[in-house]
């Protein structure tokens, strides 16, 4: 019976551990490169030509998923694929954690 309790507690603690988000302070440092395009208002891609998307206040999981899709080549964009190729899973989690924070502080 006691063992069952311990097992249950362990099981309950699992999801929180795995859903822990990255470190926004570290993310802010790594994301310095990102601001070269995503930090300039109305900055445009050369080709295909459209305004570089806003990322401040975007959802955490969406950012992580997008970066992974660029890294795997599933989502295509030359500059973003090159950037994502240099990032580890931890880097992506940290960067996303910083992006999320950007509106939380202001609103």
């Amino acid at each position: 019976m006691r063992l069952l309790w311990i097992f249950t507690l362990l099981l309950l603690s699992l999801p929180t551990a795995s859903s822990a988000q990255g470190d926004p302070d570290r993310g802010k440092e790594i994301a310095y490169t990102c601001t070269g395009c995503h930090g300039i208002a109305f900055y445009k891609n050369v080709y295909p030509t459209y305004t570089v998307p806003k990322l401040g206040g975007q959802n955490y999981q969406y950012i992580v998923d997008s970066l992974k899709a660029y890294r795997s080549g599933e989502r295509r964009h030359p500059t973003m694929q090159a950037q994502a190729n240099t990032l580890s899973d931890q880097d992506m989690a940290d960067i996303a954690a910083w992006f999320v924070q950007l509106t939380e502080e202001e609103s």
């Binding site: 802010k28 994301a31 310095y32 990102c34 601001t35 995503h38 930090g39 300039i40 208002a41 109305f42 295909p48 459209y50 305004t51 570089v52 998307p53 806003k54 990322l55 401040g56 206040g57 975007q58 959802n59 955490y60 999981q61 969406y62 998923d65 599933e74 989502r75 295509r76 992006f99 950007l102 509106t103 202001e106």
Partner: protein, 111 residues
């Protein structure tokens, strides 16, 4: 002289026509966004899941690019492809106009 005036008038007409073609109607966008709302929220700022992007305040031309990429197969997502397949260029422009006019997303800022 008359030829020059004619030229200017035609040129202005072309500019106006071009602007009209590119413009989405945000009110029609809201009407067409019923399906989108169930996952992205009315203004695009309330995602049902964290893996669904916030759309509120996103650049209009980027939203158009994203929806067309889903529709034309450049971007793969089974759910979004299904919805985007039914959209015309005008539908896409209208939806983008609606979400771009909402407030939420920001450019990155390093202080």
């Amino acid at each position: 002289m008359i030829r020059l005036q004619l030229f200017v008038v035609v040129l202005m007409g072309m500019l106006v026509a071009d602007a009209a073609l590119a413009q989405g109607d945000y009110r029609r966008g809201l009407e067409k966004s019923q399906v989108c709302q169930s996952c992205h929220g009315r203004t695009g700022a309330e995602s049902l899941m964290d893996s669904y992007p916030i759309l509120a305040g996103q650049h209009e031309d980027y939203l158009i690019h994203a929806l067309k990429s889903y529709r034309d197969g450049g971007r793969n997502n089974a759910v979004m492809q299904g919805f985007a397949n039914d959209l015309s260029d005008q539908d896409i422009a209208d939806l983008a106009a609606w979400y771009a006019r909402q407030e939420r997303l920001q450019d990155l800022k390093i202080d």
